[in-house]
């Protein structure tokens, strides 16, 4: 460096990468390459043959029930994913940087949840708590009793705890994975600890965890049929009912599969959209 203070070009002409690669939307050919056209045709053929050669005359009769089941599956999924995630944040934080008296219980909780089948947790809560509560008159007399007698609160509780257990572990890794320098520069500017958490640590951890969280939300969707075993009427249990009533084997199951597939597609799409809010190159 011959002249450090001399004329140095300040604006270095480095190309900024576009954050999202722009696709050429105008050309239809790029959106519909030959292999994709073939796949679409095969898909349409399958749907058409299913519609033509299988029996769907039961659909109008069960339409309302199916929609109810679909709605119940969706709200159970959304509520348990949201509540479970809210629990997972402190569980992950406690394990990543909490004092031992918080980290150890958090780790124990995640281990127990991840180490036991969801079906067992569901039954323990429903048959265990559910048979314990009526023995106490003050519970029976409480405002909550009309809810506690029903099955869905136990379903929501079990699925929430399950999601929290798995995601607590995911968030632990995500919190620990945020580079130290990111938090150090926040400290160096006098940010209070909670502000650092809220403004820097949590957003970066969530962003790191998003792809995993999306996958876990899909898994959670496919855990929801278990609630049928404790009498909650979700999409799966409607399909079972149709099978029992009509003695049809495949049609209700195919419709069921299609239903879950569509919900999965929506989940994946929603998470992608959130992920795109921040560019993927972190750290």
């Amino acid at each position: 460096m011959s002249n450090v203070l001399g004329e140095t070009e300040i604006e270095v002409p480095i190309e900024t990468f576009p954050i999202h690669k722009e696709k050429d939307a105008s050309s239809l050919a790029s959106k519909l390459p030959p292999h994709r056209i073939v796949l679409i045709l095969i898909g349409l053929a399958l749907v058409a043959s299913a519609a033509l050669f299988m029996r769907w005359d039961w659909l109008p009769q069960y339409g309302g029930l199916i929609l109810q089941g679909l709605w119940r599956t969706i709200w159970i999924l959304v509520v348990t994913v949201v509540l479970g995630f809210l629990l997972a944040v402190p569980l992950g934080l406690a394990q990543a940087s909490g004092p031992a008296f918080l980290a150890i219980p958090a780790r124990a909780f995640c281990t127990v949840i991840r180490g036991t089948p969801l079906l067992v947790q569901l039954w323990l809560l429903y048959y265990g708590l559910g048979s314990l509560f009526p023995q106490y008159p003050w519970i029976r007399g409480s405002e909550l009793w009309p809810y506690l007698r029903q099955a869905w609160p136990y379903a929501v509780l079990a699925l929430t705890l399950s999601y929290a257990g798995y995601e607590g572990e995911v968030m632990r890794g995500a919190f620990a994975g945020v580079p130290k320098g990111q938090l150090e520069s926040a400290r160096a500017f006098g940010m209070p600890r909670f502000t650092i958490f809220r403004r820097i640590w949590l957003p970066q951890a969530i962003h790191r965890a998003l792809p995993t969280l999306a996958g876990e939300a899909v898994l959670q969707l496919k855990s929801t049929p278990l609630v049928a075993t404790i009498t909650v009427v979700d999409l799966y249990s409607v399909a079972s009912r149709v099978r029992q009533d009509t003695f049809l084997t495949y049609e209700p199951l195919l419709l069921l599969a299609a239903g879950y597939l569509v919900i999965t597609g929506i989940i994946v799409m929603l998470f992608r959209r959130v992920e795109r809010l921040i560019p993927s190159k972190l750290g």
């Binding site: 450090v4 300040i10 320098g181 990111q182 150090e184 160096a188 500017f189 209070p192 921040i278």
Partner: protein
Amino acid sequence: MTANVAVAADPLQPGAAEQAEAIHIENLHKRFGALEVLKGVSMSAKDGDVVAMIGGSGSGKSTFLRCINFLENPTSGVIRINGEDVKMVSDGHGGQVPANRRQIERIRSRLGMVFQNFNLWQHMTLIQNVIEVPVHVLGMKRDEAMAIGEQLLERVGLSAKRDVYPAYMSGGQQQRGAIARALAIQPRVMLFDEPTSALDPELVGEVLKVIADLAKEGRTMLLVTHEMKFAREVASHVMYLHNGIVEEEGPPEQLFGSPKSERLKQFIRTVS
């Protein structure tokens, strides 16, 4: 904030040269386990001073800088910043920790730190990085912070990168952005921790130029650096650290022109 903190009206023009003492440090010790990194370092910087700290790796110069804003807790010693003595209490393991976290946060928000690895927040665009502390720590209005932030970006030559995420900027651009972020808090003192060490050689110049401009306008700065030539040109006072003590210090002409200590002579020979 507090009454004894002098806030310059214009962030680009630091307060007039009233020559008050901005940083005063006495007999600072820092020990990591058995290893004593700082063995009694003292320094003082008045407003407008540019103090450069040089020394080989492991000499303790970065640790010293990090002790000033308590990213490391000094083991013992007096630290007075903005005329405010930092109160410390024993941590029970032979070291000490700040008695009052609020005081530390207040002091830190008057010191603009620039890191070796930039450490711009990766989930925010450049302008968001610059206004983050003014808005969310100092309670400045968003519009006001934006206006100041845009001025600062212009002066470090990054107006065009306003809405770009750090990951899409070169090292030199990120470091200039980090300097703008540090300036945005209207700091009493700027702290530079080897600001060019992580840069590709061709990007060093643009960052040094920004720092030199700051020095020229009379900003108080503490600069840990490996760039000897640069230190000689911008510093008003140079400290040479070796093994945790100040081996020699003085005005740059004296230190570089006629070094007394044998070690400093050798150091200057090896780096230049």
